[in-house]
């Protein structure tokens, strides 16, 4: 083992309290595995928001439909990277795809990811943008013309019938897509929820909590992006759309909060063997990230902000400011949720007699900078996509608020 790693481990050893199994000193799932469920959650959440318009005919959120779809796509292409980079042997990654062990929740990654990316997201994006791609290919100068031609898969039909077929296809894909989005993030939750050795993770509620927090973070992200984009383009924000989305966000946060409170109460009330060490874990290791960041600043404060914004009949500017603050806080809260689950679950010994410490590296492949890069990367992808693809169907007028 290299000297740096040895030094790290001996430093960690000084921070152990109580007794831990000696092999537990190393924290195996680092910040990258915090980023992974966070990003996948954003994918699922953004997609579910996009589906509202299609399946449930919520016309108010129409202005964000394409943005939500592209957001889901940009985060989806980045989602496997943190997983890949944390592997001891990333070059063997294809083994998961070619020779999956069917009893392993993690091995379902290939199926779920492949299905969701190819069978749902890309298809829906293609049908949604096909018309515009053809029009753009006719307008654009040479290098981009080829790109648009290729992206439209050399389709050329802009007739009414083709258009109607696109709409029908999108509707079908979305109907299949909603359970798929549930599957995508529910499965990520199941990876944790099914580890019976770990009482912090082992809960049937975890996949559902993951799902609800995914919806929360996805809606919050699209609201954030919509407001930023409008500001950058110096366009007016559609307040009807914003009010509707924040209403959904509000209810999603309530459901998420209820589920997490239920999980917490249930554990406390059942008071199993692990309850003492988990109590100590929360008090000594997770107080800041769980009680303060996740629950207080990431959930209760934004809820209060949303209530004030809705019921105090504030003007557009005031509401926008409050909404914007709330979605940022919520985003931070959901990231803390992921942190508390992933890192928190590795900070106590399975002997239930002691606590470990996690010290994030700054540089290094599993360090802070990599994680930051991976969190920024989807926004870069999204910026490129928005540059290339119109977020409003071509020929549609800018919707100005009444």
């Amino acid at each position: 083992m290299n000297l740096e790693a040895t030094a790290r481990l001996s430093e960690m050893m000084t921070q152990v309290t109580g007794f831990i199994y000696p092999n537990e000193i190393e924290i195996h799932w680092s910040i990258l595995i915090v980023v992974y469920p966070y990003i996948t959650g954003l994918v699922a959440g953004a997609f579910i928001l996009a589906s509202l318009e299609n399946v449930f005919n919520v016309e108010e959120v129409r202005p964000t439909y394409r943005l939500a779809l592209l957001t889901a796509l940009s985060f989806m292409v980045v989602a496997p990277l943190p997983l890949l980079m944390h592997l001891g042997h990333p070059e063997r990654f294809y083994e998961i795809l070619l020779a999956p062990n069917l009893t392993s929740a993690m091995a379902m990654f290939g199926f779920v990811y492949g299905w969701y990316l190819m069978g749902v997201l890309l298809l829906e994006v293609w049908f949604e943008f096909r018309q515009d791609l053809i029009i753009l290919a006719r307008r654009a100068p040479v290098p981009m013309r080829w790109v648009y031609r290729a992206a439209s898969l050399f389709s050329n039909d802009v007739s009414q019938a083709a258009r109607a077929f696109d709409d029908k296809a999108i509707r079908v894909i979305t109907i299949v897509g909603i359970p798929s989005a549930f599957l995508l993030h529910g499965y990520v939750g199941f990876i944790f929820g099914s580890v019976k050795a770990n009482p912090w993770w082992s809960s049937v509620l975890i996949p559902i909590v993951f799902l609800m927090s995914a919806i929360v973070s996805g809606i919050a992200l699209v609201i954030f992006l919509y407001m930023i984009l409008a500001a950058l383009r110096k366009e007016p924000v559609d307040m009807r759309c914003l009010d509707t989305m924040t209403s959904y966000l509000f209810y999603a946060v309530i459901v998420d909060f209820t589920l997490e409170a239920l999980d917490f109460t249930h554990r406390l009330y059942e008071s199993e063997e692990s309850v003492r060490i988990l109590g100590t874990l929360i008090r000594q290791k997770l107080f800041m990230s769980l009680i303060v960041l996740q629950v207080l600043i990431g959930m209760l404060v934004p809820l209060a902000i949303l209530i004030v914004a809705k019921w105090r009949k504030l003007g557009d500017d005031g509401r926008r400011l409050l909404y914007f603050t709330a979605v940022i806080l919520i985003q931070m809260g959901i990231f803390s949720t992921r942190w508390n689950i992933v890192i928190g679950g590795q900070l106590f010994s399975k002997s239930f007699r002691g606590l470990m410490a996690y010290k994030m590296e700054i540089t290094g492949i599993e360090g802070f900078l990599t994680a930051l890069g991976l969190l920024v990367l989807p926004f870069v992808v999204l910026a490129v996509l928005i540059k290339v693809l119109p977020t409003r169907p071509l020929g549609e007028e800018v919707h100005t608020p009444a």
Binding site: M1, N2, A5, T6, L9, S10, M13, F19, I20, Y21, P22, N23, E24, I25, E26, H28, W29, L83, H86, L87, G88, H89, P90, R92, F93, E95, I96, A99, P100, N101, T103, S104, A105, M106, A107, F109, I191, S194, V195, K196, A197, N198, G345, Q346, S349, K350, S351, F352, R353
Partner: protein
């Protein structure tokens, strides 16, 4: 009884000490024979005929750590305090109910110091730990690529050429028996010294244990020392509620041990 009489009465016992050594050596040989049909003839070995397990008699363990040293040497386990295939825990249960546990296999001073006054101690004992070679191993269940697997003779192994190093098995093991090998960057663990067992030898930890606190054997053989161990002792396994069905059986296991 005066001193002279006492010594006289002990004469017989003293004479028997060498015999005890011979007997234990014979015992080792017998158990070695049961591990394979013919020592050294790997070709004739049929894994289906065997099912290996280990018995640990807590009261016999003196905490000498020879098993840990032998294991590290035999299996090229990193010589640091963070990677073990087997280790020994010391439990001190005090009269006020407080339980102090330390890993005495580490170089850390905590292993030697911090022992309370004798008067405060209710009971104390050592517990050797290792992979439990579960019948229902959660690590095998969760491995995404099937790199960790159960052999037909009941040992859970890792194929280092296939392991992708995702650490899921380490998370899934309730016993902390697995570690990430810093050299190969793959998951690693106790193999019951499978390379030795297949040749009719005992696992290194069993071989060196001076008090025979560890008993290795074949659950499919009636003459097995392990079967005898299970017959002669009340046995228990670690964390039975998790339904992993460990094949490391403890005699005199205390309820405080997890």
């Amino acid at each position: 009884m005066n001193k002279r009489e006492f010594l006289k009465s002990m004469q017989g016992l003293i004479l028997f000490f060498p015999a005890a050594g011979v007997l234990s050596a014979l015992g080792v040989e017998v158990s070695a024979q049961e591990t394979s049909a013919q020592p050294g003839s790997a070709a004739a070995y049929n894994p289906q005929d065997h099912l290996y397990g280990m018995g640990i008699e807590i009261d016999k363990c003196i905490g000498c750590n020879r098993c840990v040293e032998a294991c590290k040497a035999e299996n090229d386990v990193p010589q640091d305090d963070a990677h073990y295939r087997t280790w020994v825990e010391r439990y001190v249960i005090k009269k006020d109910g407080e339980v102090a546990v330390v890993n005495i296999s580490g170089s850390a001073a905590a292993a030697r110091e911090g022992m309370p006054e004798d008067a405060d101690i209710l009971r104390t004992f050592f517990v050797p730990k290792l992979c439990n070679q579960c019948v229902n191993p959660p690590c095998v269940q969760v491995c995404p690529v099937g790199a960790t697997f159960s052999t037909e003779d009941g040992v859970v192994l890792v194929d280092a050429n296939r392991c992708i190093g995702c650490s899921y098995c380490i998370q899934a093991c309730p016993y902390g028996a697995r570690y990430m090998n810093p050299r190969t960057k793959t998951a690693d663990k106790c193999t019951f010294c499978y390379h030795r067992v297949r040749q009719g030898l005992l696992p290194a930890c069993v071989e060196v244990c001076p008090t025979q606190a560890r008993v290795f054997g074949d659950l499919r053989s009636k003459a097995s020392r392990l079967v005898r161990f299970a017959r002669m002792n009340k046995i228990h396994v670690l964390k039975p509620a998790l339904n992993t069905e460990p094949k490391v059986y403890y005699a005199q296991l205390d309820g405080e041990v997890r």
